[in-house]
Symmetry: C2
Subunit: 128 residues, 2 copies
Amino acid sequence: MKTEKVEAPKEAKVPQKKVKAPPKPPGKAGENAVLIGRKPVMNYVVACLTFFNTGANEICIKARGRSISRAVDTVELLRRAFLKGLGLKQIKIGTEEITQEEGRKSNVSTIEITVAKTESKCNLFGNF
Amino acid sequence: MKTEKVEAPKEAKVPQKKVKAPPKPPGKAGENAVLIGRKPVMNYVVACLTFFNTGANEICIKARGRSISRAVDTVELLRRAFLKGLGLKQIKIGTEEITQEEGRKSNVSTIEITVAKTESKCNLFGNF
């Protein structure tokens, strides 16, 4: 599989707010979960394809805050361009409470999109 | 109802990309739809509350591109702080094709979240 190594943009390039990037959501990252951050969408698409190519049938794509739109982009790009037979199984939205260093608490929205492979047609390996 | 008039931030404040803001999604904006743009989340929460207070039982919250995370924020704020009995009915994601002025076509992800009132308990009008 020919994957392009796209390097993640350095944090410094993003205009930073005073609140620094929250830590990754705790736990539950085991079961084929792809956590969406600030890297280019293609990085996460490749991560998902890698999961599927190693035998996974179902992936959970998780994001929070402003990365939520990137999670939707990832799923849509995956369905549109790479895995045509990919089915949307579940979309969950919610809120997580984050405690900042100063002790202040703030709420951040989360999304979890579960996608499942229905047919094993992958665009990377040949024509449909 | 005491609502704070939050003025929308001027477009100029947002660091603009070369592609200007896409036009509102065509059609289907009739049936109690709230289209999420770049204004503060509270504006959209108030818009939803206004729909519910004028008798609507179901609202469709639509967004595309980077506003998707704001749509999730709106629903979560609405459920958490204003309408505790609000139920999530359906979440749909998709892709829309946009033709820019130069004739180039690009794809943008969309989200549609349908929420329905199950109990008429509104935090703005009293205690639970």
